[in-house]
């Protein structure tokens, strides 16, 4: 009971802090979304020039959903490792570490508190593309299952974010390495799952990795004529939880190592 109460209090407190920052620095979040928006538009423009010559077959819906999902993931992963990096400089990381909560629990609370902003970012970005690009065939009215799936995907994303955060604790300035990995995720999201050979290793990995599985499920929700969500939901919960727990476990090991090497206050 005490632990649950304290965790809820922590999430509330982090959410309040998040709102304060949004209010004080609105341009930071808006410019991030605008920056992401412009990049994909530029990609589309370049691709449309190529496809005009008949050399490309673009699946716009997959590209947009994949790109918005990458933005959603990036704000978690980069957020956590960025926070670790900043707070070790500020000295607040040490304060978090002696708060009585595990550092991993504080990060999880931050993940939950950032979720509404990330969802909002996801939909704003998607809606902006729908307005800018004609003939998009997406079921926007299915926002409730989309939010549900994004929440479950986020649990898997947290697993990866934990690993990134742990590596940041140990190796410090590794932000650009993570950027590269995020763009690799984008490549995976733009991969057409149907074109993979059924039963191949890559197809199997695609179906269990919570991010690519999430991409497949989101594409299904946004574009299928009829929805049957039970099976995709169960799969998503199962694999996201496995990745989340695995990431937390690895983070705990890396945090232990960081305490041995006195790295919590180094940057």
């Amino acid at each position: 009971m005490d632990v649950t109460y304290e965790f809820i209090l922590l999430v509330k407190s982090e959410f309040k802090r998040e709102m304060l920052f949004l209010k004080r620095y609105p341009f930071e979040s808006l410019s991030f979304i605008f920056f992401m928006y412009i990049i994909l538009l530029a990609v589309f423009f370049g691709m449309s020039q190529l496809s005009a010559r008949g050399s490309l077959n673009i699946h716009q819906e997959r590209m947009i959903i994949g790109y918005c999902l990458m933005q959603f993931i990036m704000s978690s992963q980069m957020g956590w490792s960025g926070q670790i990096s900043n707070e070790s400089q500020m000295g607040t990381l040490e304060q978090l570490s002696i708060s009585g909560h595990r550092l991993g629990t504080v990060l999880l609370a931050r993940g939950f508190s950032q979720f509404p902003r990330q969802i909002l970012g996801f939909f704003i970005l998607m809606y902006a593309y729908v307005i800018a690009i004609p003939d998009m065939n997406l079921h926007f009215e299915r926002f409730i299952p989309v939010i549900l799936f994004l929440f479950i995907i986020a649990l898997g994303v947290y697993g990866i974010a934990y690993i990134f955060a742990g590596l940041t604790l140990l190796f410090k300035r590794v932000g650009f390495f993570f950027q590269i990995i995020n763009f690799a995720f984008l490549g995976l999201f733009w991969q057409n799952r149907d074109s993979l050979v059924e039963g191949s290793l890559f197809a199997r990995l695609y179906d269990i990795f919570p991010l690519t599985l999430g991409m497949k499920n989101l594409l299904y929700i946004f574009s299928a004529d009829e929805l049957h969500l039970i099976s995709p939901l169960m799969h998503q919960i199962f694999f996201s939880l496995i990745f989340g727990v695995f990431g937390y476990f690895l983070f705990s090991l890396m945090e232990k190592k960081a305490r041995q090497l006195a790295l919590l206050s180094q940057y």
């Binding site: 407190s13 304060l20 920052f21 004080r24 500020m90 304060q95 570490s97 002696i98 090497l261």
Partner: protein, 312 residues
């Protein structure tokens, strides 16, 4: 609550070269409830590492930290102000910082409303309570860091350089606060500082650290007694040859030697030593210009302890 630091050591080993460095070497001391313990030492002596090991931020290579004779797991009983002013969120106001850190430790905001205002008032930062902390001066940030450490009413308070960069008036406020926390509220306080005047006025126990080792410890009175009680400055008329036995038996430092006077500083260690030297001087009808007991201050104790340890 009492703290027992039991044979604490920390060795850092570089991952690839395997070169190791001993930051803390077999340090043991106790702090009782209501007591202020000051750790003194030159830069890099290992003071901050000891504080961080007590706070659980650094894992000891060996040894234990016991709270009331139990290996502690619950960090909520302690608060720490570490390394100057880097302990608060610069983009939050002082009041928001206090609420955030209280929430972080499981205390709801509504339970600290009065206390947060009182703390800000006590530490003279109430006027800035709605300014973002990045606009505060270094001294104010330091006071805010202390306020955030106190908001959850911890039983143990670890203060690493609590008055660093703080003006005289604020330093006095902090000093009074620390004293009242220990003496009136019974908190255990461990502090490190280079301001020996602060230690002289506050500390019940002092530990002097050098190269990771605790080279002296005790009450200020004990340290002064042991280090300075038989320390004298002697000036003798004319050229005087100091006996080799004095050099070997006592700690002796020649200060000046001219044709007309010879000055030296000597630690007799005990009454017998003092008597032996005075008897010799008297028998040889030596003309003593002055015989002065060294000033009884902590700085002298500290510097002498470091020098003695170097010699030893």
């Amino acid at each position: 609550m009492d703290i027992n630091i039991d044979h604490l050591s920390k060795i850092y080993t570089k991952p690839f070269t395997k070169k190791s460095f001993q930051a803390v070497n077999d340090v043991s001391f106790n702090i009782k409830s209501g007591e202020i313990y000051a750790l003194l030492g030159p830069n890099g002596a290992g003071k901050s590492t000891i504080i961080k090991m007590i706070a659980g931020l650094v894992t000891p290579t060996s040894g234990r930290v016991l709270f009331d004779n139990n290996v502690h797991k619950n960090y909520k009983v302690l608060s720490a102000v570490l390394e100057g002013s880097r302990n608060v969120y610069w983009r939050l106001t002082p009041l928001e910082n206090l609420h955030y850190f209280a929430n972080l430790r499981g205390i709801s905001s509504r339970n600290i409303i009065e206390k947060s205002h009182q703390l800000l008032k006590d530490l003279d930062i109430e006027a800035k309570k709605t300014n973002q902390s990045r606009h505060l001066s270094r001294g104010m940030l330091q006071k805010l860091a202390i306020a955030t450490a106190l908001i959850t009413d911890p039983k143990i308070l670890l203060l690493d350089e609590p008055t660093l960069g703080v003006d005289i008036a604020s330093s006095r406020k902090i000093k009074e606060k620390i004293r009242s926390l220990a003496k009136e509220e019974g908190k255990v306080i461990l502090l490190t500082t280079h301001q020996l005047e602060l230690v002289d006025q506050l500390a019940d126990q002092v530990g002097i650290i050098q190269n990771g080792q605790l080279i002296r410890q005790g009450s200020i009175h004990e340290l002064k007694e042991n280090t300075l009680k038989y320390l004298y400055h002697i000036c003798i008329k004319g050229k005087f040859n100091i006996l080799p036995s004095w050099k070997s038996n006592f700690q002796l430092k020649e200060i000046k030697s001219h044709d007309d006077t010879t000055e030296f500083e000597i630690n007799f260690k005990n009454q017998a030593g003092l008597s032996e030297v005075l008897d010799y001087l008297s028998k040889n009808k030596t003309d003593i210009v002055f015989l002065q007991k060294k000033r009884d201050n902590l700085e002298e104790v500290f510097l002498r302890s470091l020098n003695t340890n170097d010699v030893e």
